[in-house]
């Protein structure tokens, strides 16, 4: 904070206290003295000093006002703008902070405090330019230890402990009292289950009440998915300095994540009441208020929380998959969970976003907090863009990977296993090779396995998170195919002992990471090489095929689309060549071919509900009722909401082919979707129950049908039959 010292030197001495004195009290952890000092300084005649003091005293509105005056008084003072920006940043007002930093740079090019401010901003969004900005600041001022501390922190966020230590040591070489550098050194030890005594002793010597440091360490544990340890550190931070509202808010948010809602609410409310009304605080409180609209179902060790409005419809599907996945994972990971698993399903994506905010590199479909899993409901996404069952299996595998390793698994490995599990359960599930990943492979942008974690935390290009998921998944597929599943479990266990990726790769696969990377890329080429090579031609030809469809030149569509499908079979998104080919075949009267193409599309992973319904209709028309029902059944795992018609048709088909339980499941879904046709829905369910010999339940349901529509003749007939 050398710049502040400069500011203080030039400040008029209007009060007994100086900025440097106040900061020194704070720096030494003399909190009561600091408060007294700030109070005195708030009487200063200098607007900038007043602003600093009022900010420290948490009178944000007045501080804001004084900063505004200070900027008006000193329009060419870049530092005042930076300090004002830092206050905005602390309050989560990123846009205002960024503007002030940019203005400061406009006044003084590459002004190091402004660069540091921008680096903090970029870092909070997990942007790779955070590192560049901190390095640039360091170029301008090589003695700026704060920049070194930042670089150390960024390295640790990327799980690069070696680099974190190097940077922390460089900061300490500049200043023996670089508090954050000391905390980084201690955190590295804590993450490795060591005491960190030396560093804490040094920290305590300078500042025995440095709660901010413990909060930073807590954040590192949270990023590493070690939530309980992170929470313990936040508590310690507050123990050191109860006024740290940012830490209190983080503690509240993380307690909420782990399901400790009562304490979370209390802490967040305290923050709110103390005027710490940042977006995480207010949004989390709002989210918790909305919990009254959710219902919770418990079944053994499995807890399901679903929104009231879709609970009846979704519960059977989600419970069944949760149970199935738990049973499979218990065997695969050779572990019985000791704590219940809670799955929360959010129909409003914004609620889900609140639940997951502040975490790096999320695919934003689901997230796991220890034994609590939060995910989007199928109704929270556009049909065909989200396979909820795939996501459920993905997230639940994290629960097991975290439990096996006591939360010490590297990000790339747990994501890789999770992606692997999506297709292991069903080859139609999971994500396919997408254009962004093809581009990354073409441009040789896949990361070495030893640094793959970086791709999740601080992506250097927009699609890198998605590409890293794909790569990690393929690495696990590769290990599974070459060495077998047990090898993956053994590696997972070894990660739990604290070993690094290179150590685990070498110990279990007998390869140096560099050799593993070579072998993996060669294997990957055998898997996707043809599609990567054919991508450019695909991109050109798909446009041609679409134009031909518009012109209704069906013969030419067929001629063009067939090779497109072959060149990039994984492309099954909306508007795929499969769909064009199927449409053209149908127009030419070749329904059998249309069926064959769409079945191929569905097997590769095609998941547009409308196209699946079309395939089902074609199959039904061709007399293949079972296949038609199976096709509609695929939609259950994609978008089982907003359409009771397909549930009803599926139920009818199952009933026709004698699959009574599946018919009952589907007619139950119709009832659960709160249809307009209440009577018809209960009647269909009653019919299926009767077919299954469950006459008492059939009678109950036919009475419900007739309660809604007493003159409903088919239901009357069924009642008469059931009453004989």
């Amino acid at each position: 904070m050398r710049w502040l010292a400069v500011l203080a030197l030039f400040a008029p001495l209007a009060s007994a206290a100086t900025l440097e004195e106040c900061r020194e009290h704070k720096r030494r952890g003399r909190l009561p003295e600091a408060r007294t000092c700030w109070s005195a300084l708030s009487q200063s005649h200098d607007a900038a000093l007043q602003a600093e003091a009022l900010w420290a005293l948490r009178d944000y509105n007045s501080a804001n006002e004084r900063f505004r005056s200070a900027v008006a008084q000193k329009p060419k003072d870049a530092l005042v703008r930076v300090r004002w920006g830092r206050m905005f940043f602390e309050r989560g007002q990123r846009k205002e902070a960024a503007q002030l930093y940019e203005e400061a740079i406009g006044i003084q090019a590459d002004f190091p405090p402004a660069l540091i401010g921008l680096a903090y901003l970029a870092s909070s969004g997990f942007e790779s330019k955070a590192v560049e900005l901190a390095e640039k600041a360091l170029e301008k001022d090589p003695k700026l230890f704060e920049a070194r501390e930042m670089l150390a922190r960024f390295a640790l966020e990327e799980y690069d402990e070696k680099r974190a230590i190097e940077q922390a040591d460089k900061a300490l070489a500049i200043s023996q009292e670089a508090l954050d550098a000391l905390v980084i050194r201690a955190t590295v030890e804590w993450l490795n289950d060591k005491p960190g005594t030396e560093w804490i002793a040094r920290l305590d010597k300078t500042n025995p009440n440095y709660g901010e440091g413990y909060a930073m360490a807590a954040n590192m544990f949270i990023i590493n998915r070690r939530y309980e340890e992170g929470i313990a550190l936040y508590r310690k931070a507050l123990n050191k300095n109860p006024d740290l509202l940012a830490a209190k808010a983080e503690l509240g948010v993380n307690l909420m994540r782990l399901g400790a809602e009562s304490e979370a609410r209390q802490l967040l409310k305290e923050c709110y009441d103390a005027n710490w009304r940042t977006a995480p605080v207010t949004n989390t409180l709002t989210l918790m208020d909305s919990y009254k609209n959710f219902v919770t179902f418990e079944k053994g060790m499995l807890i399901l929380r679903v929104h009231k409005k879709e609970a009846e419809l979704l519960r059977p599907y989600f419970e069944a998959e949760l149970e199935r996945a738990s049973n499979v994972f218990e065997k695969k990971y050779q572990l019985k969970l000791t704590k219940p698993v809670q799955l929360e399903v959010y129909p409003d994506h914004e609620d889900f976003a609140v639940r997951t905010m502040g975490l790096p590199g999320l695919g934003a479909l689901g997230v796991t907090f220890g034994n609590v899993v939060a995910m989007d409901s199928p109704s929270g996404r556009k049909p065909g863009t989200f396979h909820w069952a795939s996501t459920l299996w993905h997230e639940l595998s994290h629960v097991y990977a975290l439990a096996v390793t006591k939360h010490r698994v590297p990000r790339w490995f747990t994501e890789g296993l999770a992606v692997h599990e999506e297709t292991a359960v069903n080859t139609e599930w999971g994500d396919r090779l997408d254009p962004a990943t093809i581009r990354a492979i073409k441009d040789k942008k896949l990361l070495p396995v030893a640094s793959l974690d970086r791709g999740f935390v601080r992506p250097s290009y927009p699609a890198q998170v998605t590409v890293s998921y794909f790569q990690a998944g393929k690495i696990c597929d590769y290990i599974n195919s070459k060495w077998g599943w047990q090898k993956l479990v053994d590696m997972l266990r070894d990660f739990g002992t604290g070993k690094t990726t290179p150590e685990v790769i070498e110990a279990h696969l007998g390869l140096k990471p560099e050799q593993f990377d070579k072998d993996f890329l060669a294997w990957l080429d055998t898997q996707v090489g043809e599609q990567v090579k054919g991508f450019d031609a695909w991109r050109k030809n798909i446009a041609v095929a679409n134009a031909l469809v518009k012109e209704k030149k069906w013969d030419e569509v067929i001629k063009t689309a067939e090779p497109i499908v072959r060149s990039y079979p994984d492309y099954v998104e909306s508007g795929s060549a499969y769909e064009l080919l199927a449409e053209a075949s149908e127009k030419k009267g070749d329904k059998a071919k249309a069926i064959a193409i769409l079945e191929q599309w569905a097997k590769v992973g095609g998941r547009q509900p409308e196209t699946l319904k079309k395939l089902a209709a074609l199959l039904e028309e061709a007399g293949h009722k079972r296949q038609a029902a199976e096709t509609l059944e695929r939609i259950n795992y994609i978008y089982p909401v907003q359409d009771d018609e397909y549930h009803r048709r599926q139920g009818e088909l199952w009933l026709e082919v004698g699959e009574k339980d599946r018919a009952i499941r589907e007619f139950t879904a119709v009832v659960g979707s709160k249809p307009v046709d209440v009577a018809g829905s209960y009647y269909n369910l009653a019919k299926a129950l009767r077919a299954a010999g469950r006459n008492d339940q059939a009678r109950d349901n036919v009475i419900l049908a007739l309660e809604a529509a007493p003159s409903f003749r088919p239901a009357q007939k069924l009642l008469l039959e059931l009453s004989k």
Partner: protein, 307 residues
């Protein structure tokens, strides 16, 4: 809404009267919309013609002129009877000029005030306007009157984008699921609920901001409601106004030998209705028992009617 269902059924039973259907497809503004509006009007035309004693006028394309609409309503005014039903449906675009709602048709547009004036001359005691256009909410105030149901695809003049409601309205007329009380009559209320649910679902599924919110007004007083029901006093007339009929109910009503059985059926239905109103006051077990035996009795009566 069971009482409405009973009333609707009775209304259907006593319906030798004429139902006047006037359906107009307005200007699309581009070929795609023209095609869509005309196709919906033509499908409606086919569906309403299955209703016994229907007088159907369907105007599409260049024929959708103001003068033709006025002539059709003048015919209903001249030849109609109080026991008749009048159903006027507009499919297309509408706008609001700050004074009055206008339905966009070839030539001069028709205003809500003009439509109200011409409809007021029709003696039919049950009237329904189904205005599925953009801005249609702006027509409610001008059209409302005792014994008239007004349905608009939008809640106000500010909802100006092309609507989806019309296609779901037509779907309600052909989909038996819309007949929620299974009395073989789709009432205006049932069709409204069906089409509204589908419209809401459309926007939710597409993750699009809903740009239309359908309204129903049938009290002659208000500006319409989104969810008609006993709590807001809306829906009673709409529930009694049949939109389309299908099945054999009509024939049964005409058969003199079945009259006694029909009377008995009505009595049992009334008992069921009474029981449902008393549901809160009796135990679940008693309710189920009584309901089960009444429904069984009703089924037996119906079996006799069908024999």
């Amino acid at each position: 809404m069971r009482i409405l269902a009973v009333l609707a059924a009775l209304s259907a039973l006593a319906a030798p009267a004429t139902t006047w259907y006037i359906t107009v497809a307005g200007l699309g503004g581009d070929p795609l919309f023209d095609q869509r509006f005309n196709a919906l009007a033509q499908e409606m035309d086919k569906l309403v013609r299955t209703t016994p004693d229907a007088k159907v006028t369907t105007l599409t394309g260049p024929a959708s002129l103001k003068v033709r609409i006025r002539e059709s309503l003048a015919d209903a005014a001249k030849n109609g009877k109080p026991e008749d039903t009048l159903v006027v449906t507009f499919i297309g675009h509408g706008n609001f000029d700050g004074q009055d709602y206008k339905f966009n048709i070839p030539g001069a547009d028709i205003t809500a005030a003009e439509l109200a004036e011409w409809m007021d001359r029709v003696p039919a005691q049950k009237q329904a306007v189904i205005n599925t256009t953009s801005c249609s909410g702006a027509s409610i105030d001008m059209l409302r009157r005792d014994n008239r149901v007004i349905i608009s695809a939008t809640k106000s003049a500010t909802e100006r984008l092309a609507t989806q409601f019309a296609r779901f309205w037509v779907e309600a007329m052909r989909n038996p699921e819309a007949d929620t009380d299974k009395n073989e009559v789709v009432s205006v209320l049932e069709a409204f609920r069906f089409a509204d649910k589908k419209t809401v679902g459309f926007y939710e599924t597409q993750k699009r901001l809903a740009t239309e919110h359908a309204m129903l007004e049938d009290t002659g007083k208000g500006s319409g409601v989104r969810a008609p029901g006993p709590d807001n006093g809306h829906g009673l007339l709409a529930g009694q106004t049949p939109l389309v009929r299908f099945g054999s109910l009509q024939q049964a009503a005409k058969s003199p030998e079945k009259q006694a059985l029909l009377k008995k059926r009505e009595e049992v239905e009334a008992k069921i209705e009474k029981l449902k109103y008393e549901k809160a006051a009796i135990s679940v077990e008693d309710y189920r028992k009584q309901l089960g035996s009444l429904l069984l009795e009703l089924a037996k009566v119906q079996e006799e009617i069908d024999r």
